[in-house]
């Protein structure tokens, strides 16, 4: 009897909501990134080595992008808004190790790319975050329309 009870032990919220652990872990990652200040202007921290700055920007880009994709797939609100971040993206022109390179990174708009950009993890993170910035606006509009449906329901009931 005791064994049966142990087998049927409840996992709490996770028993009732799909992908709960994924959702919670991503929340932890977002909290850590914010606590570490990855949402602040990383360029303003003068003593940071270039490779570390790019690594942090890449991490921010991936976390920001994951937040939007998971919110869309699970139909939940987003938790990392561009409105409260210094939106910055990793450089697409520098080599991955940011080591000795003849490449002089040029100042560009966020959505602009150097024509000789390399296909690598950093470029993928940059593109994912750019797309996620549009997805954020779409999510806001989707929530607005959901509320509009709700408004119709309220009118119907009243």
């Amino acid at each position: 009897m005791k064994g049966e009870n142990r087998e049927k032990r409840s996992n709490g919220v996770a028993d009732y909501f799909p992908c709960y652990h994924l959702w919670r872990r991503l929340g932890d990652v977002i909290s850590s990134a914010l606590a570490l200040g990855y949402h602040e202007n990383l360029e303003s921290k003068a003593n940071t080595p270039r490779f570390l700055m790019e690594l942090r920007k890449t991490a921010f880009a991936r976390i920001y992008s994951a937040d939007k994709n998971v919110a869309l797939c699970l139909g939940r609100p987003l938790r990392l808004s561009r409105k409260f971040c210094h939106f910055q993206l990793p450089d697409s022109q520098l080599p991955l190790d940011c080591g000795q390179s003849s490449v002089n990174s040029e100042q560009r708009e966020l959505h602009e790319w150097a024509l000789d950009s390399k296909i690598n993890f950093r470029a993928e993170s940059r593109w994912s975050a750019l797309c996620a910035s549009i997805k954020e606006d779409v999510i806001e509009l989707l929530f607005e329309t959901n509320r509009a449906d709700f408004r119709e329901s309220v009118r119907y009931v009243s």
Binding site: W113, I119, C131, L141, R147
Partner: protein, 121 residues
């Protein structure tokens, strides 16, 4: 019970259409700004490159799909442009599944690509 919904902030249909077009234009600008070798497969693509090209296109199509879905009155009655985007997304993901042994994870796994597609379907 009082329901706190800020009714005055809701987006009217005409404005929704305008905002959706503006966001699509932004997505198209981003897409056009990508280097040519990011936007299409090439014979010299490595497994990593191939995965990269698929995920770059899939991300763009995901935005297009969401924006067209936004304008639908009823999800049960999708229009032709929405179906066209969904079909292209399906092609990409099926390609990725078929080529899974020749792809190298460039940032997101194969399961993520399938996950995006399940959201679309």
């Amino acid at each position: 019970m009082t329901v706190h919904v800020p009714l005055t902030n809701l987006v009217p249909d005409s404005e929704l259409s305008f905002l959706s077009s503006a966001l699509q234009a932004t997505a198209d600008t981003y897409w056009a700004a990508l280097p040519a070798h990011f936007r299409g497969r090439q014979a010299s693509n490595t497994p990593f490159d191939l995965d990269f090209v698929i995920i770059v296109r899939l991300n763009y199509l995901h935005i297009t799909f969401l924006l067209r879905r936004l304008l639908l009155d009823r999800l049960s009655e999708p229009d032709d442009p929405l179906i066209e985007v969904a079909v292209e997304m399906l092609h990409l993901v099926v390609d990725a599944v078929i080529l899974r042994n020749e792809l190298s994870n460039s940032g997101t796994t194969l399961s993520w690509k399938v996950w995006v597609l399940t959201h679309v379907t």
